[in-house]
């Protein structure tokens, strides 16, 4: 295995956006999902996010894993299990429209009970699961179309200090080195008869079995730290404000202003609807079930 970031180079519309644009657009959509409770508006927001996601032309082959994870979380955990099955309807709901009644279940101590699933919680669950989906559609383009080597300079330009921004770059520098060291350690321990797949009795022993791998890698990684500090000081790190010589690779273009303007507009629309109209809060079309 080789430690490689899942960055996919390309020339799509989203690829050509400035990393800062992608990040700010993402944050604004997160705020929108927090403002909204209305399933209709969340659906519209998700549709917009999905359009943005599709503009990035990311290969499904690489992305299915991320989507599988969030779909499972959104549909099964958030929507299904914890809302529709076991969740409470919102406080303002007074009457419930039953969808189906599950067969009675008998449990020890608790006794027999029967669960009624209501349309109200179905609408709630639907609205809730749209949040992680919209957020995911906004962040995946950032993760997969932005070279991680630009994080340092991008966050520096967003106002982080030289130190924190450089720490991001330095972390990137160490990822392949530490991954290589990890696999050397795996080989070294296997040569001593250690088997990765072997089972151990009990949870504690199972966790302790991580020690022959984790201890050498950890100590080896931090043991050289003081020398790195010296290497940096000897090359004048920290004497003053740094230049980021790659900074000119980042600049906002027309497309960036369009995307940012659109994102701000969406946010303002959400705020306006929420404050001045009945749109935005929990929506249940009772008339459909009259």
């Amino acid at each position: 295995m080789f430690a490689s970031f899942q960055y996919i180079p390309g020339q799509s519309f989203v690829h050509r956006l400035d990393p800062r644009t992608k990040l700010i657009a993402f944050l604004l959509v997160v705020v929108c999902t927090i403002i909204l409770d209305d399933a209709r508006l969340l659906l519209a927001l998700f549709a917009l996010s999905l359009a943005y996601y599709l503009l990035a032309r990311l290969p499904w082959r690489t992305l299915w894993r991320a989507w599988a994870f969030v779909l499972f979380f959104a549909i099964f955990l958030v929507g299904g299990f914890s809302t529709i099955l076991f969740g409470q309807p919102p406080a303002q709901v007074t009457t419930l429209h039953p969808l189906l009644t599950l067969p009675p279940i008998t449990l020890p101590i608790i006794g027999t009970f029967q669960k009624v699933i209501a349309w109200e919680t179905v609408f709630l669950g639907f609205a809730r699961m749209l949040r992680p989906l919209a957020i995911m559609a906004m962040i995946l383009p950032f993760s997969f179309t932005t070279s991680p080597y630009l994080y340092g300079v991008a966050f520096r330009k967003l106002g982080l200090s030289d130190g924190v921004a450089f720490a991001l770059d330095l972390a990137m520098r160490y990822v392949p080195t530490i991954a290589r060291d990890f696999f050397i350690t795996v080989d070294a321990q296997r040569a001593r008869g250690y088997e990765l797949e072997a089972k151990a009795a009990g949870i504690i022993n199972m966790i302790r079995r991580a020690a022959p791998l984790m201890v050498p890698v950890t100590i080896h990684a931090i043991a050289g730290g003081e020398e790195v500090v010296e290497a940096m000081e000897l090359r004048a790190f920290g004497v003053g404000r740094r230049t980021w010589s790659e900074a000119d690779t980042l600049h906002l273009k027309t497309a960036d202003y369009v995307v940012l303007g659109l994102a701000v507009l969406v946010l303002l629309t959400c705020l306006g609807l929420r404050w001045f109209t009945s749109y935005g809060s929990y929506w249940f079309p009772a008339e459909w079930f009259a």
């Binding site: 992305l63 969740g87 990822v175 530490i178 100590i219 920290g238």
Partner: protein, 193 residues
């Protein structure tokens, strides 16, 4: 080589972020990211819904040894890197939760505890790991999810998000943080730091 040990290491402000903190933050984040990635891929037996994550000990350990900011950066950015390497998305509130797991152990000096080389310190380290897990995971699972993102009711978030993560991280941390700390103390004894 041994003379590296004689480098002066003044007791600095807990919140200082100088060259040393930058270096250990970067190393810690890369380490946590790589270990998250390999343990995600190794898929050890007996781990289904709750992913088996021994690496959670790394941010806690870094927090204890190098302070709260290094612990936070290790947990936060290491988790981001692990997800980037694994091809997952980006879950900012869980990243912050992981950051808190590294930050909290770094606050021990505030309550007057220093993990010197006494045997007892390993018990304290284990307890610290548990507290850091419970509180760290509470941020995304009990605060952000039910009250800010409003994806689940508190009860559901407690049972399906917080409990599995907090318990699994506590057990992993309580076992592995003392082991890592003992190894580091031994290494320091060699180089006389």
């Amino acid at each position: 080589m041994a003379t590296t040990s004689m480098r002066a290491q003044p007791k600095e402000n807990l919140w200082a972020f100088g060259t040393r903190e930058i270096v250990y933050s970067a190393i810690g984040a890369a380490l946590y990211g790589v270990l998250n990635w390999v343990f995600n891929n190794l898929q050890l037996p007996g781990t289904n819904l709750v992913s088996f994550r021994p690496p959670v000990a790394i941010p806690m350990f870094m927090g204890i040894v190098f302070g709260p900011l290094v612990g936070f950066f290790t947990g936060f950015f290491g988790n981001v890197l692990g997800d980037l390497l694994s091809g997952y998305g980006f879950y900012w509130h869980w990243d912050v939760g992981n950051g808190l797991m590294g930050l909290l152990p770094g606050l021990l000096p505030l309550v007057g505890i220093s993990l010197a080389r006494a045997q007892r310190s390993y018990v304290i380290a284990a307890v610290t790991a548990i507290v850091a897990s419970l509180v760290g995971m509470a941020f995304p699972a009990l605060l952000i999810n039910p009250f800010v993102m409003r994806e689940m009711d508190f009860g559901a978030a407690f049972a399906t998000l917080w409990l599995p993560a907090a318990v699994s991280n506590s057990v992993n941390g309580a076992i592995l943080v003392p082991i890592l700390l003992a190894a580091w103390n031994a290494y320091r004894a060699r180089s006389g730091r």
